[in-house]
Symmetry: C2
Subunit: 103 residues, 2 copies
């Protein structure tokens, strides 16, 4: 199952606004078919999604879907550059309960 680590850098004066936009739209993404994990995290000046999708088709549908469209409209002008997307393949090892994002 494809995994994505997506990093967004908010403009310095837009951190709270960006957080609010992301949090508001997450439930809609969770409704998307094949969404196994769409989890938001934060570090100073940085938001990081860790995502997992049932397959490439579900991931592609997400990328072209209405929720992402709304997200990027709302984020317009609020990020310091485009999101950094790292597309990953799981390498399962050790205890499955600890070694995989989702079984």
């Amino acid at each position: 199952m494809p995994v994505i680590v997506a990093t967004m850098i908010p403009k310095a004066d837009q951190v709270d606004e960006v957080r609010a936009i992301l949090v508001e739209l997450i439930p809609e993404v969770h409704q998307e078919p094949g969404c196994k994990l769409y989890s938001l995290h934060e570090a100073p000046g940085k938001f990081v999604f860790v995502e997992e999708w049932a397959d490439d088709a579900a991931m592609a549908a997400h990328g072209a879907g209405p929720a992402i469209g709304k997200m990027f409209s709302a984020l317009d002008g609020r990020l310091d550059g485009p999101p950094d997307l790292v597309f990953l393949t799981p390498v399962p090892a050790g205890d499955p309960a600890l070694g995989q994002l989702r079984a």
Copy 2:
């Protein structure tokens, strides 16, 4: 619970060796107290751990523990620079089953 995204860049001729080292040591990390998630992923020329720890103390113990010590001894000379570590805080939203790495 603290989350880490750790990215390692193997030297071009060390990809298989690095993968083997990481996979071999993951079970030992899974035994460490407070390990909630220690999951390996791969993209061309890149290994990415997504980790979650019960608390800062468990994360710190991991960082100073024997497994990591063995890992970095074995990785010596095989990486293209030091690992990139991003320390994150979860921002739970939406369906908890989909919006958090671990409940």
